[in-house]
């Protein structure tokens, strides 16, 4: 029986996924892709919760994941509605150019 992957590996993987998502949020200019990077970060967190839930033997971690998914769905819905509204007003989809609220 091959050795089980220790908890730390899962946590490390989720950290790397989170980092990748963060970089994506900061660096990409297309707003849709920024959104997808946000979803990636959320999923990294989900992985952390599930791994720890198993490690601690408590279902609470999975319950939290449940909620994260729900909130992610709501957020995606609203965010995409905003994007639709933006495009309807003829705005660009480039994050660098959506800067009306500057000083």
């Amino acid at each position: 029986m091959p050795p089980t992957a220790p908890l730390t590996w899962y946590l490390g993987l989720s950290a790397v996924l989170f980092a990748i998502g963060a970089i994506g949020v900061l660096v990409r200019r297309n707003v849709i892709v920024i959104f997808m990077a946000i979803e990636l970060m959320l999923n990294a967190v989900n992985l952390t919760f599930v791994a720890l839930a198993r490690s601690l033997g408590s279902m609470d971690g999975q319950v939290i994941v449940f909620f994260v998914m729900t909130v992610a769905a709501a957020e995606a819905a609203v965010g995409l509605a905003i994007i639709i509204a933006l495009s309807r007003n003829g705005e660009t989809m480039n994050a660098d150019e959506l800067v009306t609220l500057r000083w």
Binding site: W9, L17, A22, R29, N43, L47, D60, Q62, A85
Partner: protein, 164 residues
Amino acid sequence: MSAPIFLLLAALVLAAALTVVVHPSPVYSACALVVTLFLLSVFFIGLDAQLVAVLQVIVYAGAIVVLFLFVIMLLNLTQTEPRPTAGAPLVAVAVGGGIAVVALVATALRRLTVPTAPGLPEGFGDTAALARRLFTAYLLPFELTSVLLLVAIVGAVGLAKRRP
């Protein structure tokens, strides 16, 4: 989950995640995101979180990413970015930030020890167990989440509506 399988799946997940973030075309990014989510679902099964894994596929991959693709197609956002990334300084800072995140977590892991449970209870990770926790200790957040969804629906409809 056994170590070799973990490593294989981890490599795939990272590849897919990088594709999401790096690829110029939004459509390809969305597809890569689907792949990532599926692979994560496999991870969940390996971690005795069966219901969550299923929900991941149904809700995340099946609804949310579909919604993404729907909007991409509706607004015809398929063109690739001319220069997909921002200026070099910002990239450097962002990458630095990412590395910092990982380093932090690594340091934390070295310092802290997570207590491990002796053994898993019967039926860990299945629907009944989840439901049991959800409808007792987490009842209030559950109800609030339903309100949240209502608000999100109203908001989304209001924002995206075509004004006369």
